[in-house]
Symmetry: C2
Subunit: 326 residues, 2 copies
């Protein structure tokens, strides 16, 4: 057990829980949440002891037409403030910005003028220089920063090592291990987290984990990364997120032993807002098509389409996926 | 990695997959499966390369009135044969018998006269001598045997060690680690499997794993036990089983690398039989109430009742559970 950080019954003071319900869940419903949903989630997260609440993306309005999305795709300063005021709470606020899909120089204002605390930068392995430009911009503006290297299950070891070294030499605070396709087993998360931690320890960085539930492993992979040293833990209420969704906040808060965390507030939010959302027909969560894209290390888009079309011919879908992969 | 058995890309020849859909799934619908369901499952399991198919229980007809249950609660020889004939296949057939709830001396006939290959004996820690009596009876009748020590999450270390030693000195072939309440994290499964494996290696026994999905960890715990040396792996189609259900057969077969395993046959069975069953309103699988009993290491019966009553007041239910636990 000597290689595990902490025990199953103790508190790890470095742990931070990040709620991504609006951001990853927004991919399910085009960010069209009611204000009541967002406000109640904000209040529930505060009660639950969540450390960061991510409100959505800072997407470019030149690329994405605001008429086609809810406001959390863009996270205007005034829209966040309409929910949180000056956010005089212990919970911090984050937004995500994708490399190449954001007008960060214009749309991300100085932190002293913003209610946002942390900018999370999502990048692929081949856009790390652009990510570093965004990191440094946000850092200079006074923000905490994370970088989320997506789709690492498709990245070869040498490239990953080089990318991690580049990022670790930037001013980023947290480097995230992201299992975009829900392709990893806990044994792989163990190896990868150990690798990220080596870099983190060398450059005094912190590691985070963002998992997907294609193989019902989002929670297992999150606590595996945690026990290998990851500190920033992403979760969403009832796992709401694209395709198979994410690590359930309910499960994560049940697992953590810090008495500041309180899953009851989240469960009451589920009763009030998530169950009605599901009854309206908003669909996410583990299903066989996502398992298939996960095991094939493929983007879930084909599985999302399969489910949208209400197809059930799993065997044929699997053949189509294998054809695509060849 | 040196403490793991096998790798993520190799075949472990000791692995045996046990389908418990009728047995654990029967707890959901009182064993009332149609003959078409059972026959198609049998054929799907053969195609899928499943090693053992469990047909149900050998329950006492003096305790349980056959009018109140489907036939797989009792697994009469002629009922199994009506599905499988002489079972001239590579797949073996098992049934489960609970200590104290079976007339094993009468109802379990000699293996040479039976189409059953393996008797699985379910016991609590305090009925191990009775379990050993059943093991020896089944062994003398010519059967392969397993013993499944239930609810070990409630057993103290000294009792577990003593119980394992007693069982290891019997003629049982396989000793199962059973997470009855879905209470274990993979880290605990690692420790427990290592412990079971120490006994197994000393007495030349084999270890099995039977997991429940209360915390979305049934699959993760199954592959954790596997990688620590467990060989007999229980799963059910779409996780069908009491409460939160079991490890999904679809996931397990996706994970295993032996080319004899074929998840496509199982997915087609899901399309034909499991989706209609769910549409009829047969309910199982992960839900918040099962998470709560799992994390409290409690029997799922209260959660099953909560869901049957269509209650949604999770916070109040949690308070009731905590009261019960005190």
């Amino acid at each position: 057990m000597s290689d595990r950080h902490g025990s199953l019954i103790s508190v790890r003071p470095d742990v931070k829980v990040v709620d991504c319900t609006l951001r990853d869940g927004g991919l399910v419903n085009n960010f069209r949440f009611t204000d009541a949903f967002v406000r109640d989630l904000y209040l529930a997260n505060i009660k639950a002891g969540v450390d960061y609440m991510e409100f959505g993306y800072k997407a470019s309005k030149e690329i994405f037409n605001p008429d086609n999305f809810g406001k959390w795709k863009f996270c205007n300063e005034e829209d966040i403030r309409a929910i949180v005021g000056d956010n005089n709470t212990d919970m911090k606020i984050s937004v995500m910005a994708d490399v190449g899909r954001t007008d960060f120089k214009k749309d991300i204002i100085d932190r002293k003028d913003s209610v946002i605390d942390m900018i999370r930068i999502a990048t692929y392995i081949n856009t790390i220089p652009a990510a570093i430009e965004m990191i440094e911009d946000a850092h200079e503006k006074g923000y905490e920063t994370t970088v989320n290297i997506m789709a690492v299950s498709k990245v070869n070891d040498a490239d990953l090592q080089a990318g991690l070294e580049m990022l670790a030499q930037s001013n980023v605070d947290v480097i995230y291990l992201v299992d975009s396709f829900g392709a990893f087993y806990p044994e792989q998360v163990e190896r990868l987290t150990n690798r990220y931690m080596q870099i983190a320890q060398k450059y005094n960085k912190t590691i985070g984990i963002h998992a997907h539930n294609n193989q019902q492993l989002a929670f297992a992979n999150t606590i595996e990364a945690l026990s290998r040293g990851a500190s920033y833990l992403d979760a969403t209420v009832s796992g709401m997120g694209r395709g198979a969704g994410n690590c359930y906040m309910e499960l994560l808060l049940s697992f953590l032993r810090n008495p500041k965390y309180n899953k009851v507030a989240i469960m009451s939010f589920v009763e009030k807002h998530i169950l009605p959302l599901k009854e309206e027909g908003v669909v996410w969560g583990f299903d066989i098509p996502y398992m298939l894209t996960g095991t094939l290390n493929a983007h879930p888009s084909t599985a999302i389409q399969f489910i949208k079309e209400k197809r059930k011919d799993y065997a044929m879908f699997y053949q189509e996926l294998i054809d695509d992969a060849l």
